[in-house]
Structures are given as structure tokens and as C-alpha cells.
């Protein structure tokens, strides 16, 4: 009986020790700093399309290295709210520029981070893009964009979202800055 009790006590002590080790070790913890992103700038415009981009920093503030397996922007502009444009969005690392909207999995060591470029292209469904974005501005339509990212580290993979808002005021300012806005504020 004493042997059994001793074994149980040893097992409990070992379990507690492992739990403490894991708790102290921690895990990766990612944050996309959407509130500190740069303002969207107009980077390209044609008769039918306007393309804007901004930069968003991210950091692994955890105590372990972590891997961003995948990441992409998810824009949310339902036709019930605004039906004048089609939207495409993509995201890329500043350290691995590419235009195919493929996010190559990357290890981010603890305490470090990086920057992603979010690019949004509006295409007018009818007419030209200036009129379409004018209409968007007149209707005061802001567009949420979720940065969706899949993380794997010491624990099983998970998907998080960080939301930012691309405002119609911001689009207006970007168009004016390029001198291509049809309106004057």
C-alpha cells in the first residue's frame, strides 16, 4: 500500500512539474497592429479601377517562436450596402513581395515581427471608377477588412482575425492626394 501511495505521489509531483514547465515556457502570441496601420494610398488607377494599399505591422509578443501558416485580407462590402464596385484584396509581406495572393508560411521568432502590405482594388461595375467611388463617398460607406491569420506554434493551429476599417473619408483623401478625385471634399 505504501508503495502504491509513493508511486501516486511521484506521479502527481511529475505532472505538476511538467505543467509548471509548460506554463513557464508559454507560447507564441501574435498581434496585427491594425490600429497603427498607415493610411490607404492610391497606388494605381485606370478608367475602371482604383487600387489602394496600406501597411500593417505585426509582432510575435509571446515567449516562443511561431509560424504564420497563412494570412489573407477578407473585405466585407455586401451589395445590400453598396453595389457600385467589385472588390479584390490581397496581402503580402514587405520582405516577400508577390502579387499572387499566396502567403508563404513564415516563422516569426519571439519578440520580432514584420509588416504586411494590404492592397485593395475597386472595379466599377458600370461607368468609371471615379463616379463609383464618388457614390461610395456620398453614401458614407466604410468597408471593414479582416486580416485573417492562421498560427501554429507549440499548441495546435488556430485562426484569428484582426479588423480594420477602410473608410470612405480615407478613400476620398487618397483620391484627392493624387488629384484624381471628382469631388473636392
Amino acid at each position: 500500500m505504501e508503495i502504491l501511495v509513493t508511486i501516486v505521489i511521484i506521479a502527481i509531483i511529475m505532472a505538476v512539474a511538467v505543467w509548471l514547465f509548460i506554463a513557464k515556457q508559454g507560447d507564441a502570441d501574435f498581434e496585427f497592429k491594425v490600429n497603427e496601420r498607415t493610411e490607404f494610398k492610391l497606388v494605381d488607377q485606370t478608367e475602371k479601377t482604383a487600387t489602394f494599399s496600406c501597411e500593417v505591422a505585426f509582432i510575435n509578443k509571446g515567449s516562443q517562436d511561431g509560424t504564420i501558416m497563412d494570412a489573407y485580407p477578407r473585405h466585407l462590402l455586401p451589395y445590400e450596402q453598396f453595389d457600385g464596385v467589385e472588390v479584390n484584396s490581397r496581402m503580402e509581406l514587405t520582405t516577400a513581395l508577390r502579387t499572387d495572393n499566396y502567403f508563404e508560411a513564415v516563422i516569426i521568432p519571439k519578440g520580432t515581427g514584420g509588416i504586411v502590405i494590404v492592397t485593395v482594388t475597386f472595379t466599377a461595375k458600370t461607368g468609371n471608377i471615379k463616379d463609383a467611388l464618388q457614390n461610395l463617398y456620398d453614401l458614407s460607406v466604410d468597408m471593414p477588412i479582416d486580416i485573417v491569420y492562421q498560427i501554429v506554434a507549440r499548441t495546435p493551429w488556430y485562426i484569428h482575425k484582426a479588423r480594420m476599417i477602410m473608410t470612405c473619408d480615407e478613400i476620398n483623401r487618397a483620391m484627392q492626394a493624387k488629384g484624381t478625385a471628382k469631388w473636392e471634399g
Binding site: T67, V106, R154, W157
Partner: protein, 225 residues
């Protein structure tokens, strides 16, 4: 006088739709001589064998979640999926046993015991990011029948020999399989500077030119002394 020369060969991205021997023949046939040795990256052989798995497809056990915590975080087994893949391939009780013995061995100053006891898969699994797109989001296991693959390459191409190698930029080279008559340690030494490059899937083949000629010359020199 023939000198040893390492010649990386680029290919398109190879997938499980490809036969590795056919692909090597397609991309190297014109460059291969009877004194040459053909080496191919083990991860690409594994990919063509379909030995790839997405983390999303694993059912992770409690033991994998615990044991991965005891692997330094630069290693492929430090993630739950790397550890689970090892357990699936070698058995979880074997991995647990290897981990316990490995820990005790480390305490007395002997490293690498875990990898010796946990099975061949332990050193060969590549975690996510270990290979280039489109396999960067997958784990890649070690190849099956690496010696057989090497023999088939040698037979098909008529070269001096062939090898399947795992090489990285950290000065680590391991010959996983080789055709008969080749010395794996000698080959690993030749490949230690990673001639496959970082993106080994785009240059997954390295031809070691004049291998046999240099070997013969060395043997003649040694016998004349």
C-alpha cells in the same frame, strides 16, 4: 585531369503526380556520364511519393502536446504536428521511451540519443515552412525505400551511382539512401555546403561530376605510396 564538380539542376515544382526517376532522367539525361553520381533532395523524393500531410489533417494526441514542449523550438518536432507525425510513423510509446532515455542521456552529457532511439523519421520530418510553396503549409515525411530509389536512378541513367540526401544550410548533410558501392559519409562530406540551395525543390538534383574518376585517382595514389 578530371576534377570533382557539383552541378545543381533546376526543375519545375515536382508533386506526387511525378515519378522522381522519370523527372531526373528528363532533366539530367544529357549531363550524366558514367563517372558521375546523381544526388537528389530527400524532401522532393518524399513529395513525389505523396508523403506530405497538412497540419489540419492530424488528430493530435495529448502525449504529442506534452512531448513537443521538450524539443528546442528550432526543431521540426517542437510543434505538435511534427511530434504527432513522428508518433504516427514510429509509435507513440517508442517516442515516449526515446524522450525519457534521451533526457537522462542529456543530463549525463550525451546528446542525440532521442534521435537514435525514436526511429529514422525523427531526423527526416520537415515541419511547415520546411519546403517551398506549395508545400510550405505541409509537413513532409522522410522518403520510403531511399536505397531502392537510388538504385533505380543508377540503373536508368547508367551513372556510377546515385544518392538521396538531406542537406541544409546549417552544415548538416545526411545521405538517406545510396546505390551499392557508394560511401554515404563521403557523399555527405561532398554535399555539406548544400549545393541544392535554399529552395531545394527548384534545384532538387545535384550531379557530382567525375566522382568515380577522382576516386580511382585517389586509390591509385594511395596504392603507389
Amino acid at each position: 585531369m578530371a576534377e570533382l564538380e557539383l552541378k545543381p539542376v533546376g526543375t519545375r515544382i515536382l508533386t506526387d503526380k511525378d515519378n522522381i526517376v522519370d523527372m531526373i532522367e528528363k532533366y539530367t539525361k544529357e549531363d550524366i556520364g558514367p563517372d558521375d553520381v546523381v544526388s537528389v533532395a530527400e524532401s522532393v523524393v518524399a513529395i513525389t511519393q505523396g508523403r506530405v500531410a497538412r497540419p489540419e489533417d492530424f488528430k493530435v494526441c495529448f502525449l504529442a502536446k506534452i512531448l513537443c514542449r521538450f524539443v528546442p523550438q528550432k526543431g521540426s518536432l517542437s510543434s505538435v504536428y511534427g511530434m504527432q507525425s513522428l508518433m504516427d510513423a514510429e509509435g507513440k510509446w517508442r517516442v515516449l521511451f526515446a524522450m525519457i532515455i534521451g533526457m537522462f542521456a542529456k543530463i549525463v552529457g550525451k546528446n542525440g540519443v532521442f534521435y537514435e532511439l525514436a526511429g529514422s523519421h525523427a531526423a527526416l520530418v520537415d515541419d511547415v515552412t520546411g519546403t517551398m510553396p506549395p508545400f510550405d503549409k505541409c509537413l513532409v515525411y522522410g522518403p520510403l525505400e531511399a536505397n531502392g530509389v537510388a538504385e533505380e536512378i543508377k540503373r536508368r541513367l547508367g551513372c556510377y551511382g546515385a544518392a538521396v540526401a538531406d542537406v541544409n544550410d546549417l552544415k548538416r548533410a545526411l545521405v538517406v539512401g545510396a546505390s551499392a558501392g557508394l560511401d554515404p559519409k563521403k557523399l555527405a562530406h561532398i554535399l555539406i555546403d548544400n549545393p541544392f540551395g535554399n529552395a531545394s525543390q527548384r534545384t532538387p538534383i545535384v550531379i557530382i561530376k567525375n566522382y568515380a574518376a577522382v576516386e580511382r585517382r585517389t586509390e591509385n595514389l594511395l596504392s603507389s605510396e
